[in-house]
């Protein structure tokens, strides 16, 4: 009797359902607020520090560094947001109601990922551009600033904003795989930071050889004005940045239909 429902309509229904779920929780607004406001404040502070006298004799600081630092902070709060969209449903048993209403589990995974993607893309870009504006306002006083009209700058800032989206997708996937909030967040921190920490501890040239495959190094490469020369190019690094969430979501898509809810 209801067999003639086009796939597009069904997809829209599942998306709308997950959108209602996301926006009907206060915790969504709190985590987003923290993810947006704090990093902007941090980047202003970082810019002030950068504008001060150099602490060591090394290469000159990258003028886009403050924006990057601030986003790495936001990575933690969008991680919580991403992990919990699945883990709280598994934790409470609500996932059974969800899957009874929408037996196509991969559609649920896709819809949850999509609504979180939309929110984190907007938040990420907002943070990236706001941080950039604020930091450059501080740096320009010291003639260290760059402007959006300079070649390479808009792309780097845009790419910087993508970081939140990329890690949020990893978080959604891990929430579906691990099915538990505490475990999911632990796995998230491990997946994102552990490879970079290992790379950091390796001796040259292995640090860079391993490091270029890590998400943290890739995120830096795509969002700095003067990317490191011993890592992948920004274009390849962008691919690395997107390959991580793609891999995690793929594993989630496989496991979500294989296990009992």
């Amino acid at each position: 009797m209801t067999a003639q429902v086009p796939v597009a309509v069904r997809a829209r229904d599942v998306l709308a359902c997950e959108w209602i779920k996301l926006r009907s929780l206060r915790s969504t607004y709190w985590t987003l607020l923290i993810a947006v406001v704090t990093p902007i404040a941090i980047s202003a502070l970082a810019a002030v520090a950068l504008a001060g006298p150099p602490a060591h004799h090394g290469p000159p600081p990258d003028p886009l560094e403050p924006g990057l630092l601030s986003l790495e902070y936001a990575v933690l709060s969008v991680g919580v947001l991403g992990v919990t969209v699945f883990s709280t449903e598994y934790g409470t048993g609500l996932i059974r109601t969800t899957f009874a209403a929408m037996p196509r589990r991969r559609a649920v995974l896709a819809a949850k990922a999509a609504v979180v993607a939309a929110v984190t893309l907007v938040a990420g870009e907002a943070v990236a551009f706001a941080s950039f504006g604020l930091a450059q306002a501080v740096l320009s006083g010291k003639h260290l600033g760059v402007s959006l009209s300079q070649p390479g700058v808009p792309g780097a800032v845009l790419a910087n904003g993508l970081l939140l989206f990329a890690v949020a997708m990893i978080a959604v996937g891990l929430g579906a795989i691990v099915r538990d909030t505490a475990g999911g967040i632990s796995a998230y921190v491990g997946v994102i930071f552990l490879p970079a920490i290992v790379a950091l501890l390796l001796h040259a040239p292995w640090g860079a050889r391993v490091g270029r495959f890590t998400l943290v190094y890739a995120a830096r490469q795509v969002s700095e004005l003067h990317p490191a020369t011993n890592l992948f190019s920004p274009a390849w690094s962008m691919l690395v940045l997107l390959a991580w969430p793609a891999a995690v979501l793929l594993i989630a898509a496989v496991t979500i239909t294989r296990r009992d809810a």
Partner: protein, 312 residues
Amino acid sequence: MIEVDHLVKRFGAVTAVDGLSFTVRPGHVTGFLGPNGAGKTTTMRVILGLDAPTAGSATVNGQSYTALVRPLRQVGTLLDATALHGGRSAVAHVASIARSNGIGRRRVAEVLQLTGLEAVANRRVKGFSLGMKQRLGIAVALLGDPQVLMFDEPVNGLDTEGIAWIRQLLKALAADGRTILVSSHLMSEMAQTADRLIVIGRGRLIADTTTAELIESSTRRDVMVRSPRAAELAELIGARRATVKREEDGALAVAGLDAAAIGDLAAEHGIAVHALIPRTASLEEAYMDLTGESVDFRAARPQAALEGAASR
């Protein structure tokens, strides 16, 4: 219609459902009865496609549940009323699920009104009592106005008024020609609500019959007789091919001969009878007889437990 066909579900070494087959037909409230751990919830989860069967199959209206498009319009379910996100309001919870099956806001308001929750619709569900959560779960089950409804232990946590409300609702839904499957571990509850019963124990079918038939067939009936010449009387009754058991206090428990026949027999032989009482086992006892063998975790008899404690 719900059809379960030779269903097997194992979790590692544990067999939760062991070759179960039954059919739930429209127009009745069918009780799904069994002790805790009998496999009722697992069976329901398999019917809903939440758990994959190890063997066998379960279908709803002839289709596998996972193949249903907009399943809530065909099957409504309440599995676990507490399975909610506490931070979400009642109306947001119902609206999100409604939206997933293309069901509009008007129907959301309708089911909230039907379940008496419209006054608390905007409150977050973490403050809800178990009874309110049950109502909320029923509201979700009714959303798509489905022909098939499945409720897992819906009266748990409800007060007397709530239980009466559910009973009326279930009967009204069945009278509408819908297929209703309600699980419970309480025979007394099911006897008042269900007109058909599927009884399972340890994942196996024990009985699939009408409630009246089950009560009739599984109820123990006997006559308690007291007499100063009990031994003599017992012999006479035994000669009539009835069974006689001597109880601890010297009374006779007679099965297979009714009170009138026993009285006549005693009078014929001039034996005085001090008591002649027909007895029927309660429904609950009948149910325990039926499922006694299949209870997984049996508690010690209260008396034995107390004695054990005292002697320590």
